[in-house]
Symmetry: C2
Subunit: 247 residues, 2 copies
DNA sequence: CCAATAGTGTCTCTTAGACAATATTTT
DNA sequence: AAAATATTGTCTAAGAGACACTATTGG
């Protein structure tokens, strides 16, 4: 496939375009055992041999970006996206982010329910869910510390103004489970009573299934599915957020 | 520069990586004459010869992504970023988005004050500010319609929860100017009294300069600079947003 | 004085947050 | 009944929106 000579206006760019490698990397988050966890793989080759890294791989020359992300997600977790949520996070392309050459990576953020499928990848490298609390800066390969931090921050922010917390839950869930997601991801406590009112009172946040749980302690809880609203109005407020509340 | 053979775990990727071209494209927005305008260049070559396109160009093989975006912005507008705001918007890489080959573009969103510098680029192609209201879908080259739409939506959303509207204003501005930005970008009317109270009452949104305008009609207005807050708490609310307000 | 714009005060309504009270289950 | 969890109700305070009113300029 012959490629590009000149793109935009002038002729400065008549020379052949510089060749890049393009990869996708995934920040796959889940909530298990009251911990926010990320899916990491242990690298089997240099560079960063033996270090943890985000799962990812090359984009095929005829492959769309979302398709590459979905494929990698399926390869690493054994499941297709539909259960959770997948969105583009950002692109990282520092000239020396990969010592082997010029690699630009498009990072994606995936939020998944804890489906007990820790690994199942086709890749030889071992993979596992790591609690974020156990990771220290500088521990990940390449610039993956930064990518992960950006992904976590994005996830935290999105819980505020989207119904995406439900992406961490199974298809049917209780208000308490949803609250647990918020509490874990935000690292805060939320009042169960006010949370319940807020969730059930925000149009399109959740939709009642009509059934209830059974066999737990206490009164059975109603089951809900994710609602149709793409955005929450008004948003869920993170306690204490940036502090200021107006003078 | 020899490049990558195998990246992550397996050996499926031992073959040489697929070669991509990487570009940056810019969605440069400004507010002039009560219109939200975007900087576009007219293409002088095929494909899409004669069509409007977002300014952009190739990333140098040793060039960082933000540096490439900043460079293109300077080339197209003749000014460095400091005045306004520049952030990564997203990456677009459909295999056939460019008929000449596999080109992945990292799009950036720039918000600039109306600095009367319509063009000044070194490129031969003509460039100009086009009001968004004059653009119809399908009018831009490549997938730039989509990129532009994403950029505009991002800008609209960011005015809600960041002090970024000030990026559209000169270094010192009045509350009325800031309100005009909101009204233009959102296409709504805002109550001047409540807006004033909201802006001056939100910590870190704007910082008073201490001087006032002179020589206009009516009472002189206090001048402000952009405040230090990265986020607005509470956010500016867009009237009528998604409709729902809670039952 | 009038027109015009800037800025403040007041009132009402909605919503967040604290927390009492009630409902429904298991043990 | 006691413990545990779910769900509803009540109260208070902060903020949004409507809008009267005051302040400061140019004609």
């Amino acid at each position: 496939m012959a490629l590009v000579l000149c793109r935009q206006g002038g002729d400065k760019e008549m020379a052949e375009y510089p060749p890049f490698a393009v990869t996708v990397d995934l920040v796959v988050l889940t909530v298990r055992a009251d911990q926010l966890c990320v899916l990491l793989v242990r690298r089997g080759i240099e560079p960063y041999r033996g270090a943890w890294a985000l799962p990812g791989g090359f984009v095929g020359i005829d492959e769309d970006l979302p398709a590459a992300a979905t494929r990698e997600l399926a390869e690493e977790t054994g499941l297709a996206e539909p259960a959770g949520h997948l969105e583009q996070l950002g692109t990282y392309g520092h000239p020396r982010r990969d010592p082997r050459g010029r690699v630009v990576t498009v990072a994606w953020l995936a939020l998944l329910p804890d489906q007990a499928n820790p690994v199942a990848g086709t890749d030889a490298a071992s993979a596992d869910w790591l609690p974020l609390s156990q990771l220290s800066p500088g521990q990940l390969a390449f610039d993956h510390d930064r990518v992960l931090a950006d992904g976590v921050e994005r996830a935290r922010a999105k819980l505020e103004y989207t119904p995406l917390a439900a992406a961490f839950c199974p298809p049917e869930f209780t208000v308490a489970q949803l609250r647990g997601v918020y509490e874990t991801v935000w690292g805060t406590r939320l009042d169960p009573r006010n949370f319940h009112r807020k969730v059930t009172g925000t149009p399109g946040f959740v939709a009642p299934v009509g059934r209830a749980t059974e066999g737990d302690r206490g009164r059975p809880a109603q089951l809900f599915r994710r609602g149709p609203a793409p955005l929450l109005h008004p948003p869920m407020l993170r306690p204490d957020q940036t502090g200021q509340t107006g003078s």
